[in-house]
Symmetry: D2
Subunit: 467 residues, 4 copies
Amino acid sequence: MLKDSLDIYGDDLHEECGVFGVFGVENAPNLAYYGLHALQHRGQEACGISAFDGDKLTTVKGEGLVTEVFNQQKLDKLSGHIAIGHVRYSTTGGGGAMNVQPFSFHHYTGDFALAHNGNLVNSKELAHYLEVRGSLFHSSSDSELLAHLVKKDKSEDMRINNIMEALNMLEGAFAFLIMTKNRIYACRDKHGLRPLVLGKLGEGYVISSETCALDIIGAEYVRDIEPGEVVTIDHHGIRSSRYSQYQRHLMCAMEYIYFARPDSDIEGCNVHSFRKLTGRYLYEQCPTKADVVIGVPDSSISAAIGYSEASGIPYEMGLVKNKYIARTFIQPSQEMREKGVRMKLSAVRSLVKGKSVVLIDDSIVRGTTSLRIVRLLREAGAKEIHVRIASPAITHPCFYGIDMSTREELLSARMNKEEACRKIEADSLEFLSEESLLKAGNRSELCMACFNGCYPTSLYQNKLNKE
Amino acid sequence: MLKDSLDIYGDDLHEECGVFGVFGVENAPNLAYYGLHALQHRGQEACGISAFDGDKLTTVKGEGLVTEVFNQQKLDKLSGHIAIGHVRYSTTGGGGAMNVQPFSFHHYTGDFALAHNGNLVNSKELAHYLEVRGSLFHSSSDSELLAHLVKKDKSEDMRINNIMEALNMLEGAFAFLIMTKNRIYACRDKHGLRPLVLGKLGEGYVISSETCALDIIGAEYVRDIEPGEVVTIDHHGIRSSRYSQYQRHLMCAMEYIYFARPDSDIEGCNVHSFRKLTGRYLYEQCPTKADVVIGVPDSSISAAIGYSEASGIPYEMGLVKNKYIARTFIQPSQEMREKGVRMKLSAVRSLVKGKSVVLIDDSIVRGTTSLRIVRLLREAGAKEIHVRIASPAITHPCFYGIDMSTREELLSARMNKEEACRKIEADSLEFLSEESLLKAGNRSELCMACFNGCYPTSLYQNKLNKE
Amino acid sequence: MLKDSLDIYGDDLHEECGVFGVFGVENAPNLAYYGLHALQHRGQEACGISAFDGDKLTTVKGEGLVTEVFNQQKLDKLSGHIAIGHVRYSTTGGGGAMNVQPFSFHHYTGDFALAHNGNLVNSKELAHYLEVRGSLFHSSSDSELLAHLVKKDKSEDMRINNIMEALNMLEGAFAFLIMTKNRIYACRDKHGLRPLVLGKLGEGYVISSETCALDIIGAEYVRDIEPGEVVTIDHHGIRSSRYSQYQRHLMCAMEYIYFARPDSDIEGCNVHSFRKLTGRYLYEQCPTKADVVIGVPDSSISAAIGYSEASGIPYEMGLVKNKYIARTFIQPSQEMREKGVRMKLSAVRSLVKGKSVVLIDDSIVRGTTSLRIVRLLREAGAKEIHVRIASPAITHPCFYGIDMSTREELLSARMNKEEACRKIEADSLEFLSEESLLKAGNRSELCMACFNGCYPTSLYQNKLNKE
Amino acid sequence: MLKDSLDIYGDDLHEECGVFGVFGVENAPNLAYYGLHALQHRGQEACGISAFDGDKLTTVKGEGLVTEVFNQQKLDKLSGHIAIGHVRYSTTGGGGAMNVQPFSFHHYTGDFALAHNGNLVNSKELAHYLEVRGSLFHSSSDSELLAHLVKKDKSEDMRINNIMEALNMLEGAFAFLIMTKNRIYACRDKHGLRPLVLGKLGEGYVISSETCALDIIGAEYVRDIEPGEVVTIDHHGIRSSRYSQYQRHLMCAMEYIYFARPDSDIEGCNVHSFRKLTGRYLYEQCPTKADVVIGVPDSSISAAIGYSEASGIPYEMGLVKNKYIARTFIQPSQEMREKGVRMKLSAVRSLVKGKSVVLIDDSIVRGTTSLRIVRLLREAGAKEIHVRIASPAITHPCFYGIDMSTREELLSARMNKEEACRKIEADSLEFLSEESLLKAGNRSELCMACFNGCYPTSLYQNKLNKE
C-alpha cells in the first residue's frame, strides 16, 4: 500500500491522529510545534496547540499541515510552560474546522483543553446520555464527550476521580491529554490500542504518541503509559492512577506495520526493526527465487530490505516516489492518464526490465493501488512479479480510529488469495501470517481485528457491513 | 471621528456585528453571501454562514472580510433553502477563531445554529447559572449562552416556549437569529437597542440587521422586528410572538450617527437623511460664518452637506481618504511619520489654504483623531477651524455592543467643551444637542446612554470606570 | 460612468498608469511605497519599485495592488537614496508579468531603470527600427523601446543628449522616469498630454504623476514639469533641458474629468474644484427642475455637489457604493442577477421614491452602466430621471493611454443625443459643452480628441475603427 | 551530505537547473507541468513554462515550486502543441524574479523562448561583446546572452546557422532549449557536461534533462543528445547538426553522485545502480568491520545498500528525515537548538546505541553537516562511527553550474584526510577513489574538476580563490 500524506489514488489507509504535551518547560508551545511536526505523518488534515500562560488558555488551530497552520506570528500568540497539541486525520466526526483539536472549554471552575487520538465505539450512546442531561455539543468529536463527562458532576474543580469515572464510561481506543492551568492528565485506553509515551525534558515532562517526537526536541524516553492508566503531571512531578483493573496489551498492529515512523519505538520495539523482521519472515514463510527485491516507498522499504537480507536477493530502488507531491498538485485528467501520465510513483526501467521481481508492500486495502503498481512494473518490463505483503490479509474494517474502506471494498473480504492475486495481476501473492507478525514484535498479543475480526470491544451501533 | 474598516489611528468606534438570514429561497447561502457583503461595514473581523440542506447543517466561517473568508469553493460547500450569516467585530468574548459566528450545535433532538448582534450585560451571571447546572462552554460568546438556555429544559425539540423563556433571561442588547432545519427564529431585545428588519423575497423571507442588505438581493422591505418580539419563519409563513410585555424603542443613537450605512432605513428613517438633518440642526444651533464646510470622510459627509445646505456655505472635498487602505498596508514608522508621511487622510491645500473652515465630524471619542485632522488642515493652510460634532458629547461607555474606549479615555468624560476645544486645537467646538438628535430622527426616544449615562438596564458587574 | 478599481460591469474607462520618483532622501523606496499607494487609483493591475543602493539596482514588482505586491519583507529588499515606482493598468503591451514596470536594464556602462505613464503611437515603427539594428525585446512595452533608443549609440554612459535624442523619436503621450545610480531624468511629452509634477522633500526631490502623492509624504509642490522638458535630478540639484521647441498644453481632459484624485492639482487647477464647476456649468447650460441631485459615486460626487449649489436642488446620497468590493468578490450568477441581486451599487429607495432626479455622471462610454443605473433608480421609484454628463459626448477612441472601448462600442459614436437618451432609458440627457470644460479649467486648451477627433499627433498604424 | 530541497543547515550542494520540452503533442504545456514536476529536484527556487499556440507565445513563471507557481488557472493560460519549461536554482545571475526562466523575446522576425541548464564561464566577455554592439540586458542570465548572440546578425528568421554560430561562442556547461513557433532546438555543450535526453511520445517528441521526466509522462527514451550536437525538432521530425568537431564525454560526476534522481539513466547508466556500485567499491577499497551500515537520507541510501550488500553488514534506517519540511517551517532558535531541538534529521537510538556504525554519505562540502550527523549518532549512543564518502574529496569549486561553497570553505581544500576526520569527529574517514568512480559508471571519463582541479575549459575571469 502506498502511504502518502497526499493520497492521490484514494486508496490508502488513513492515519488517525497524534497527540503531544509539554509540562514545566519554557516555551512549551514552541516545543509542541516541533513535536507535532515530528508526528505530522499521523495526521495531515488539521492541527493545533493549546497553551496556558497563568490562567489564560489560548488555542491556535486550523486545517492544514503544521507548517501551513503555524507561522511565527501565530506561534507567538502562544506562551507559557504548559501546552498540548494535536495533528488530525478525520475519523469520527468527519472533517471541518469545528472538529479541529485541541478543544478548549470555559468553566467557572477553571478553563481546560483536550486532545484525543483514537476512536470510541460508544460515542452515540454517550452523546445521548449527556444530551438528555442538558449537554449541548459544538462538534461531533469524541473529545467533546470526555469533557462533558468529566464535568457532568459539577465538582468545583478538575479532580482525578472525575476523570477516572469519565474514562470508565468510554469504550474503544484512545490516548487522551487533558490540560488544566497547572496539570496535564495523560490517559490510555485499557486495551492499550493506541500508543502514548512519557518523556523527560530538563525539569519538565513530555507526552507523545510516538518516541520520534521526543527525539526531535531532545527529550529522554521514560516509559510507555500503561493501558488503563492515567498519569498526572504537575509541579509535584508525576503520579500514576489506574482507572480500570482490566488491562490488555492489544496495541494496534497497523501502528507497527504502517502508521508509525520507522524511528519510533512502540512498547519497547523499534518500528523499522519490526518491519525488517516482517520482511525476513515473509521470505522464510515462502522462499521465492527472483532477481530483485523492490519495496513500495516509503513504508515498505524496511520490510523489503529485511527480505533482501534474508534471501540474498539484491534490493533495488525499482520504484521511486516524487517527494514534491503537495496539496496543490494539479492531478492529471483522465485523458492525460490514459496517455500514460504517471503521478507520484515511477518504475525504473533499467532496474526492472527483464527481471523477476519480489514486490514488498505493507498491506492491501482495496487492491487498486496494488494493481496499478503491478501494471507499472509490467510496463517497465518486469518478467515476473511476486507480491509479498508484510502483514496478514485485511478482512474486517477498523472501528478504533483507522479509516479503512468499508468491508465491501476490502479486497481480501471479497476474495481468497488466489482470486486476489489474479485481481491485482500478480504472478504470485503471499501474506505474512499472524504468528509471524507477533514474532516480529516479540510479543504475545496485538489487536489484529482487521485481519481476523476479533474485536476487543463490543461494536455497539457500528456495523460490520454497510446496509 | 474617522470611520474606517481598517482603523489605523486606533481611535475609532468599532462596529459590533451584523446578522442576516434567508428562508425558503433557492441558493439561500449564496444570498447570505451577498447580504453579509452589504453588511460588511458592521464587522470586518470575521464572518460566517450556516445552512441546512435537509437535516445536514454545514457552517463555513473564518477570520477576515466576506471576500477573504469565502471563495467559490467554500461557498459551494453550503447549499439548501435556509441559511443564516454573521459579520463580526469582537465585543464580548474577545477575538479569536472560537468566537466566530454563526455557532452550530449538535443535539439528538436536532441540530441548530445561532447568530447574534449586540451585547448582554448579565452574561457572567448566566454563564455561572448554566455551569453549575452542567453546561460547558467552548467560546466566550453570548450566543452560546442562549443556545444552552434554550436547551436547558431538555425538551424534545426546539419550541417557541423554550426560546421565549430563554430570551426573558437575557439582559442587554440583542438581535438574535436561531436556525433549525425547518425554521428561523428572529428575536429582538425588549428595549429595541439593535435593529433587525424583515423582508420578502419571492416565496421566501429575509432577515437583516439593515435594509441595505435587502436592497442588494432584490428583497422587499416588510417591517422592522418589534422590540420584545420573536418572529418565527417556517413553511407556514411568519408568526409573531411577544416574549415580553415590556417594550421600549430605545434604538442605539450611534446606529443613526455612525454605524449604519447611509442607504439603510432604521425604524422608518433613512440614515443619510437623518445625518443631513443633524448637519442642518448643527448650523441652526450655532450659526457660524466660514468660507467652506468640510466633512470627515466617509461617515460625516451627509451631515456636512446638510450643514452646507442650511448655511449656504459651500461644501468642499477638503479631506480625501485613500480608498485602497487594506489590512496588508505597511504602516509608516514613527520616523516616517515625523518626516510627514500621512496615512489614509489628506487635506487638499488648494481648497483649504487661507480659508475659514467648518469641520463636521460625527463624534469625538478620545479626541486624538480630531487633533490630527485639525493639525492636518492647519498645515494645509486653514485660517480658522470650527469643529462641529453631529452628535452630543460622549461621556459614558457603552455596554450594549459598541467598543468605545474606557471612560477614562473619553475626551468629554474628562473635560468640558472649552477644554476639549483647546485639546483638539480647534478655534471653536460645538456638539449637537440631544433634542436635535431626537428631532433629526423624528422620534421621542433613542438610547443616548453614552451621552447622558441613562442606561436602560442594570449594568450588573460591568463597571463605569476601570478599577 | 461608474469608476471602480474593480470593474464589475466591464464598462469603465481604465486608468492608465502612475509614476513616482524619489531622489536624495533616506529610505527612498519606503517613500515610493507611500507615493505609489496614493497613486493607486491610476492603475490597480500591477506595480513595482526600483532602487539603487550604491551601484546595486534592485527591483521588486508584481501583479496586484501596492498592498498586495509589497509586504514588509519585500519592501526591505529595497534600500538607498534613489528610487522610482510605477502603478499600472495595462495599455500597450497587454497584461502579463513581463510588462510590469519599472523595467531594469543591465549594461556595462551602468545599470538603469525606467517607468512610463502614457502611450506611444509609433511604437511598432520604433520596434522595427530597433530590431533591424539588432535589438531584442522581452516585453511589449513602450518603456523598453525608450531604453533601447537611449542606448542605441553605445555611448559610454547615460547622457542627457542621448536621452533628448531618444525622446525626439517618440510620438504620443508620456511621462517618463529614467533612473541611473546617481540621477533621475523626468521627461514629459511635448504635447503635455500626461501630468508630471516636481516636489521638494528635505534636501531631496520627488517626481509624481499627481500632487496627491506629494502631500501624502509631506513633500512640497514645486512646479509641473513642462511639456517637452527633461528635468535632471542629481546631487547638484535640478537642471532643466528642453528636447523640443514644439510645445503645447494639451493636458488630457479625462485627467480632470475622471482619472485624477479630487485632491490633486493639475497644472495649477484643483481637480475637485474643476469638477464642481462642471456641475455648475451643466446646470447653467440647461437648467432643469427636479427634486434631488444624485451623483454616481465616487468620481461624479464633486460635479453633483456643484450642480446642487448652482441649482439649489438638494444633493442626496441616492446611490451608494459598497466599499468592500475586492478582487476576490464572487460575482452573482446570471440566475442570481435575474432574481435581483445587485452588485456594487444600491439605490436608496427612501430618498428616490416618487422623486424627480437629476443624475450626474462624469462620462458615458458604452452606455451599459448608465442604463443599469437608470433602471436601478426607476426600480427604487424615481419618477423622472434627467441624466447630466459632466463632459462632452465621447465619440472617438483614445490612443494616448486610456483604455476606452473601440469606436464601434462608444454610445455617442453610434447615435445622437436623442437616440442615446432613449437607449439609456432616461427622461432627458445633456452633455457639458467643450467650452464649459475649458472654462472649468480656466484654460485655453485641453486634449479633447475623444470628444471631437482632433488628435494632436499622427495616428500611424492605429485605426479609428476596428477592421 | 544531506541533500534537501529546503536546505536548513545551509551546507548543501545546490542543484542547478532542469529543462524540459514537448513538441507535437496535444496539451504540451500540461505535459511540461508533469515533466517539470519530475525534475523538481534539480531546482526548487523558481520555474516556468512557455508555449506557442499558433503565433502566440505565452509564458507563465514565478518563484517557488512547480506546485506553488502553477495552479489550474495559471496552467490554463497556456495552450498549444509546443512548450518548453524550466526549474531553477540560482547560479549565475543570482536570484530574483527577473532571472526566472524560460525567457521569451519579441522580434519582428518571430517571437521565441529559451531555457538553459548549466553555466557559461565567458558570460562577462560575451555580455561586453554584445553591449558594445548595442544589446541591452534585462537579466543577468546566460540564456539572454544566447538569445542576443542568435539574433545579432539580424537574419530574417531563426536559422540553424545562426544558432550554431552562437553556440560556438559559448564556453562552459549548457543544455539549451530554444523554441520558435514551429521548432524546438535542443543543444548540448561540446564537453558533454550537462545531461539532455530525447524521448518520443506518440507522434511528438520530448526533451528532458533526465529520463525520469520521460517516464512520468509515458514517453519512450530515444537517446542522449550528443556533446556538441543541436537537435532540431519540427513537423518534419528530428534532424541532427554538429556545431563543433570537438567532442568529449565529460559528464559532471556530481550528476551521478548527488543531483540526478535515482530512477534516471544518464548516458546509459542508471543512477541508483551507479550509486550502489560506489557503495560496493567503498567497501572493497577499505573493508571495515562494523555492526550496521547507515546512509544519510535520501541521496546516500543507494550507496549504503551497496556497501551493505558487499560487506554483509546489515543496512539499518539509523537516520530518519522528516519529510514534511517545507519552506514555511519555523526554524528553532539558537536557544532551542542548544536545548536539543533537532530539525530535519533524527538518529534512531534503538538501532544505533552501542553499535559500531559505517556512515555512508555521498560527499562532503564544508563538513559542518557531517559534523552534525556524527554528533547526532554519538548522542544516540553509537560506539564507533566510520564515515565513508561515496565520491572523492572535493578540493576545487565548480564553475559549470553547481553552487558549492568557495574554495576557502571546502573542507578538503583546507585539510588532508586525517585532519578532516578529526574535524568531523569521526573514528575514520575514507573517500572513494577517482578510478572507482569511473568504474561505477563503466566509463573512461567524467568531469572531476571539483576533485582534481582539471577544468575542461579556460576559467576566464572566474577565480579559484576569493580575493
